[in-house]
């Protein structure tokens, strides 16, 4: 694990702590709290290599599992799938230059996709008689619009933070 990855890991822990503290403080308007771990995974998948994107998505998913009430593995699966998806899109399908707008579109898409992936994983687990199936409306509420906006806004500072630490590493 190189120095940059250690710094990224510490940033991830900080974002996780910030998210759980924010969810507790703003519990009555929980939908405005950004999904910082998901945004981190998407931004990292845009800027870094596939192995890094996959492993950080796994770690971020594991952190999300700590406070999850869903079948174990839902967030790990969702984050890894989104991380890989974002990597493939940005390296093979999108144009060479990744703009802030592209990043915002990917964050919005990832936010909307995560509940669907969670539903699919839960459906798979329930078909193996490991949990009870939840209807898809459980995963999508109208409040997701606020989360999408919040995630898109927070994608900018997280991109800047990761770029900042990447640049420090490059200079050294």
């Amino acid at each position: 694990m190189n120095k940059k990855n250690i710094i990224f890991f510490l940033v991830l822990i900080f974002l996780f702590l910030l998210q759980i503290a924010a969810l507790k403080v703003f519990s009555n308007v929980w939908y405005i709290v950004p999904q910082l771990l998901l945004v981190f995974v998407i931004v990292l998948s845009i800027t870094d290599s596939l192995p890094e994107a996959v492993w950080f998505a796994f770690i971020a998913g594991f952190f999300a599992e700590i406070f999850s009430g869903l079948f174990f593995g839902t967030y790990i699966f969702g984050f890894v799938a989104i991380g890989v998806g974002v990597y493939i899109i940005t390296r093979h399908l999108a144009s060479q230059e990744i703009t802030i707008l592209t990043a915002a579109v990917l964050v919005v898409s990832g936010t909307l996709l995560l509940p669907f992936l969670a539903y699919c994983f839960n459906w798979l687990a329930s078909s193996l008689y490991s949990t009870l199936p939840f209807p898809i409306r459980n995963f999508y509420s109208s409040a997701i619009i606020w989360t999408v906006v919040s995630n898109a806004i927070f994608a900018y500072p997280i991109t800047k933070i990761l770029n900042f630490f990447s640049r420090i590493q490059t200079i050294e």
């Binding site: 929980w30 999850s68 869903l70 890894v80």
Partner: protein, 265 residues
Amino acid sequence: MRQGLVHIIIVFLILVGLIFLNAVGALPPFLDISRRSMGFLSRPIGVPLQVLKNFAVGIISVRDIMRQNQILGRQVEELTVQIAELEKSDLENRVLREALNFKAETPFVLIPAEVITLDALNIDQKVTINRGRNQGVEAGDAVVVSGSVLVGAVSEVFDSTSQFELITSSAVAVNAEVAKSGASGIVRGEHGLGLLFDLISQTETIEPMDRIITSGLGGRFPANLLIGFVSEIRSSSSELFQKASVIPATNLRNLRVVFVVKKSQ
């Protein structure tokens, strides 16, 4: 890309391994410790966020606070009168119970618990608290606030933390009755969106703002815990049962301290 594929396969194999470890019970103790430590570490971050929230709320709602203060002042006066009447009724009730040799109600033991956090991504309706098996919490225990307002039921218990399902979750159903008329039915969650009071006989009377309390039937939840208030009667007289929307008695998204209800031995 091929190297990346190897990493993806390794990650999914680890995921399968973790799911297996979780299923055989090897992972929950680790998750339990992680919840407590992460909950503890996030506290210092929560302080400036709370200050920020208080500041924003203070600026936005000064006028609201003044108006609410007037309303609350009036309510305090009304409630003081009601308390005096209830004390009188309570005394009368006790005298009559003694006269009729009624068995006294079973008192509860309340285990205070602090909410660590909601589900990190808020997809479902679970809340994590800092009390678990070591403190006597068991799956199925009722969770209340303010002594007698039902907010949920414990669904998963670890050694020192546990998770409870909010009553608005579709996984929770509570035998309930209208405090005023005694009309009984079942209150269940509507996928986190609200509460539905269902299976009420057409012969029973329900009205908007009626208080809904637990009936104690089935023994899962103790009797007389407040659930909420009827907001709207949804069904027509041609249907087999009546239905009504219920507003929870407390803000379920703003829970800080809750109590797990244990029946005393």
